[in-house]
Symmetry: C2
Subunit: 287 residues, 2 copies
Amino acid sequence: MEAWFFENQTGNFGIKIRIESILFHEFSDFQEITIYDTLEFGKVLVLDKAVMFAEKNEFVYHEMLGLVPLFSHEKPERILIIGGGDGGVVRECLKNPFVRQIDLVEIDKKVIDVSKEFFPEIACGLDDKRVRILAEDGIEFVKRVNAGGIESQKYDVILVDSTDPVGPAEGLFRRDFYEAAAGSLNGRGIFAAQTESPFFNGSLIKDVGKIIEDIYPKRSLYCASIPVYPSGLWSFTTGSKKYDAEIINGSYKDFDFLQLEADSKYYSREIHPASFILPNFIKEIMK
Amino acid sequence: MEAWFFENQTGNFGIKIRIESILFHEFSDFQEITIYDTLEFGKVLVLDKAVMFAEKNEFVYHEMLGLVPLFSHEKPERILIIGGGDGGVVRECLKNPFVRQIDLVEIDKKVIDVSKEFFPEIACGLDDKRVRILAEDGIEFVKRVNAGGIESQKYDVILVDSTDPVGPAEGLFRRDFYEAAAGSLNGRGIFAAQTESPFFNGSLIKDVGKIIEDIYPKRSLYCASIPVYPSGLWSFTTGSKKYDAEIINGSYKDFDFLQLEADSKYYSREIHPASFILPNFIKEIMK
C-alpha cells in the first residue's frame, strides 16, 4: 500500500509526496500541525496542509532568510524573528559574528515544541543563551515596540518567517504590520520577509513591494530555489534604512567566510549578490 | 467534475496539474504525445507522461538553453540542435545576429507537426530559411558528421534539447554520444545539454560532468528555475573548446541587448553570468 500527501499549491496545481509514516498530528490553538516521514525528503513539517520545510532541503530557505539580510548589515546585534518557531532561521542568524540577541516571536508555541522534538538539527539554536522566545502575536509585538519608541529596544534586523498569507499569517502581509515593523527597527535597520513565488504570486510581490518602497529608502527582492515550495522558486523582499541588501557589508572583511561556507549548503559570498540578479519577468513584476 | 494530470517526477514525488481539456493524444513511432489545455499553465506538451513544457513558462528553458551558449561564442554561425522538435530553442537561437544555419535533428517528426499546429508561438522559427529540419536519430547524425571529418561541415554550437534519460533520449546521456558530438564541433565549438535537476539528479549531473571534463578543456554548469520541471530548478552542462560559457563574448559589443531583453522574459546580460553562480550543494555535486 502507498500513502501520499497532496498539497494544492494553487487552485490548479499541486504536489504529491509519498509518505512513509505520520510522525505527529495535532490541532494546536492556531493551526493543524502534521509531521510526515517521507522517502524523498526525509521528515516534512506541514502546517494547515501546506509544507513548511523538508529535512533534506530546509537549508535553502533558512540560510537565505537568515544569512542574506544579516551579512548586508554592518553590525547586526539585535535581531527580531517573527514566526519561524522551528528555529531554522535562528540557527542561521547565530552564524553571524555580531549577533548578541535574537527575539523569536512565534504565535504558536506548539510549533516550537514539535520542532525541538522532531527536528533537533533545525531547532538546535533555540536553546542558545542569546535567544529569547516569546510565544505571542508578532503583529501585536511590533506595534508595542513601535509605540514604546525606545531606541535602545529597537532592532537591527527584523525577519518575517511566516506561513502563506492565509490563516494566522494573514496580517503579516498588511501595511499596518510593515509600518509597525519599520518603527521597531533602529535607524540602520533591515527588514526581510518571505514573499511567496514569483511565478504564482506576482501580484502579492508587487503589492508588498509598493508598501516597502513607501516605507524604506531601499527596497530589493532576492530569490532562492526551494523544491517543496510552489513553483520551486521563492522570493524574499527587503526594506533597508541604510545598507544595500545585495552587498556583503565591509565590516566582515576579517570574518571566516570559508568556515561559514563549509557550514552552509546554499549561501556563499557569490550567491549573496547573485540572488538579487533577477530574470526579466520578475523585474517586470517589481516595476 | 475535475480532471487532473499527475506526473511522478521521482518514485516518491510528483506534481498534479488541473486539466481543462485534452487537445491532442496519439502514440507516435517513438512515444506517447499528449497536449493538455490547463488552467494554471495554458497548453502543456507531455511526452511519455512527462511535461516537456507549458505555454506560460516555456520561455525559461528555451531562452536559457538557446541564448546562453550562443552569446558566449564569438560568432556562432552553424548550430546543431538535437531534439527540440517543438522549435522553442530554434526560436531563441534566431535572436543571435551571427546565426546562418540551424540544423534541427529531431527523431520524432510528429513532435514537430503537433508543435506547429498547437504551439505556433513556439514553433515560429521552424519555417525560417536558415533552419533545416532532419527527422532522424541525433546520435547517428553526430556519429556521421564526426566520421566525415570535414571541418567545414562541423558546428560552432551543439545544443541537446532532450527528454529525460529514459526511452528515446537514453543514448543522449552516454559517453559515445558526447564524444561524437565533440567531434562534430569545430575547434572553437561549444556544447550544451539539459542535465536534469540538481536536487533530484545529482549523480547524473556528476557523471555527465566527468565525461564532459574528459572531452573539453572547459566545462561548466548553469541553472534556471522552471516550475513544471522536477524540483523547479534545472541544470545545463556545457563543454567548450575555447570560450568561457559564463561570459558574454566581446564580439557582441555593438549588439542591441536592450531589444533582446525586451524580447526575452528570463535571459539578460546580468542573468547570463549569474546563472553560473551555484549554491554550495551544487558545487559539491560537481567536484
